[in-house]
Symmetry: C2
Subunit: 423 residues, 2 copies
């Protein structure tokens, strides 16, 4: 399928007509509103809604807003209706209502290069999982040795913890190096200061569209139906702070300072042709966690690192989301099993996506094996962990036949710690 928007038809575009991911953007300081990416454009959905060309079904307008939450809460009939309509309006031989209306095209089609992207939805709560088999094994090996690498519950439970929603930021937001308590095994007392082992975690984020009720568990099938779409997610991590704080109640300030996501939410509909099953089970799962069908996706993922002043980034990792042991639908079903209410706008981090090969690891902790094996960048510099001024970029796409369902980029640059004198 081709579009009359030529830039959407290039085989390496992240945003062909098969994709149509949702985001929130603004131009020239005007109020943020909802849009979809198509080729080099953002399509202003509030303009199409206002012109009567697109409707989410209700009498209310849902796109002239700074967040996707209201649209996401409408569920699959509305999601399908808008997608079908956008395909009709933008395909090469479709409805000419927009194609032949130059005035409306001028208002509704904005070059992405002119748009400022915002957080695409209000993050209700953020939960981070730990579903990468290789990542759990790698980290467990470093902390406890290869025999005890995998915690005993790991093959039975999609292990997760509640993260911090208030610091989920959109790609492009600078990140200040966190301060905190650290204590090396050789230190007698903990010290206060800037993180010295700053890291990324390459993850996918699942975005909950439909809520569930408190006290009511959901099946994996229901959970899959509640998910609106997926984003790239970088779960920035302060490894030295984490090592000292995380026992017994889990990561806290080591992860709370920032989580970056891509500006575009790629819908489940666009990803449908790329569904794949989770890997074979090593232990049989309890029935409430069994997948009734393929619920993972084949999504190629890359991590790029670029020091300040360097003229190009170095690709430091390349992997695939299909490595994960648990799907987002399984994670969501587990999340609600106790009766925990899930909300529109909940964000579920997949856990670090690491493949079996060393070049497929999704964190510097793994890539440099705890800092012992520095990475060589193409600029000639080396890195154990992230330095001030470094820019980290995640990117990813599902590769179709002649087109890509792309996620764009999730970018963040590290800035020095703030001045802080607590006395």
């Amino acid at each position: 399928m081709k579009s009359w928007v030529e830039s959407a038809n290039q085989s390496d575009s992240h945003f062909p007509i098969q994709n149509l991911p949702y985001g929130v953007f603004s131009v020239d300081g005007h109020a943020p509103r909802c849009g979809v990416a198509l080729g080099e454009f953002v399509i202003d959905l509030s303009e199409l809604e206002e012109a009567g060309l697109v409707s989410a079904g209700g009498s209310e307008h849902v796109f002239n807003q700074p967040a996707l939450n209201e649209f996401m809460a409408l569920g699959k009939p509305a999601w399908d209706q808008v997608r079908d309509r956008l395909v009709a309006l933008f395909k090469a031989d479709g409805d000419p209502a927009l194609k032949e209306n130059a005035a409306l095209r001028d208002k509704a089609m904005v070059l992405q290069s002119r748009a400022t992207m915002h957080l695409p939805f209000h993050v209700a709560e953020y939960t981070d999982f730990y579903a990468g088999r290789q990542h759990a094994f790698n980290v467990g090996t470093m902390f406890r040795g290869p025999e005890n690498a995998l915690p005993p519950n790991w093959l039975h439970i999609p292990i997760g913890y509640n993260g911090r929603a208030s610091t989920v930021v959109v790609s492009g937001t600078d990140i200040a190096r966190p301060l905190g308590q650290k204590k090396a095994p050789t230190d007698e007392m903990p010290r206060f200061g800037a993180c010295e082992r700053l890291d990324i975690e390459l993850e996918m984020g699942a975005v909950v569209g439909l809520p569930s009720e408190m006290g009511r568990p959901i099946s994996v099938q229901e959970a899959d139906g509640m998910i609106f779409g997926y984003v790239l997610l970088n779960d920035w991590s302060a490894r030295d702070i984490q090592a000292w704080e995380y026992q017994p109640l889990g990561p806290f300030q080591a992860k709370a300072f920032a989580t970056s996501i891509s500006p575009w939410v790629v819908t489940k509909a666009a990803l449908e042709p790329f569904r794949t099953s989770t890997p074979p089970r090593e232990k049989e799962l309890l029935p409430y966690l069994r997948e009734p069908g393929p619920m993972l996706y084949n999504i190629e993922l890359e991590v790029l690192m670029q020091p300040e002043g360097a003229d190009k980034p170095t690709r430091i990792a390349k992997t695939n989301y299909n490595n994960m042991y648990y799907s987002a639908a399984q994670q969501l079903a587990h999340h609600a099993v106790s009766g925990c209410k899930m909300s529109t706008g909940d964000l579920l981090g997949s856990g670090t996506v690491s493949g079996p090969e060393k070049t497929e690891y999704g964190s510097l902790l793994e890539l440099t094996w705890g800092g012992k094996e520095p990475l060589e960048l193409e600029t000639g510099e080396t890195r154990r962990f992230i330095e001030d001024g470094d820019t980290l970029t995640l990117t990813g796409w599902a590769q179709g036949d002649g087109y890509r369902i792309g996620f764009g980029e999730c970018v963040g640059t590290i800035k020095p710690s703030p001045d802080f004198d607590p006395r």
Copy 2:
């Protein structure tokens, strides 16, 4: 100080004129709005605001709303202005504007027995701490033995983890027994089913009024200034689910199914005469955590348990908030130290309040020592953990000279697990 509202002057009233805690209520199915408790009444602040007798300072009305968040975000000048005005309107020899206006009194003074209480604020995010020295020691002893009871970081960090905000409910809400994965040490494989070791945790909750910025740490003094007030908090806990899931990333579904809070937020202003210092430090704290003055409070706390059909409750614990090793201000300063943004409506659980004596323990896990020493109730029944139909009530007050700053009650009744067939 006395009020012309006689029921506020009884020495055992939780709601004298010195208190004036804030909540959200409705009557006869009308829209919820903000009020304060005084004696046997709820004072409808939206009516007083509408009549021009109370103002939070701005041009907008902030009390005709189903949540306190907007008022809490205004900060100390507004909090002080409204409190001073309410004292003037309700003290025995004060401003007669309301006392002598029968029509307005009829509209603005609602008997609490007629009011339905709602969640007093939108919970932005919920964080639960672990600041009770005796509780940490007790639980650590049960899991790891007395020599390794206290984790090595415990005396240096106010240990906390992110909880789940979507299931924070107001006192009086029934709680369904959670389902989940359990695995006893003797089980070969985990089992799925209803929690068999259901527990309470007696806590105080600190409510954040003023937000902080992402990337900016705050001092303990600043943190204290951001806190609007305190509630009673019951952090319901599924001990069997918790034991199997909590390593390595902390409690998740064992705590996510429900957290109950009292309907009244007692302000810091009302608690001011009851400030007290945290206990002596066993290890010197890093400067960013040192208290510049007393930031804990002397608050008496009780837990009552009443089986279904019993004609009276049994008091099963009596303790005091002044046992805590860390204050809420210290916890909040730690929470923001990495640059984590704190928001209006954030709720910080203190951690279980357990005193040194066995009758002062704030959970059944401790009171029955892991279920080994059942409690005898006044009805003759015994309890290891909570059974279906049991009602658990927390209550608390700061005892002044002839008056009490009361928190009312935080009540919850356990209902059977929902039917759930995942296939």
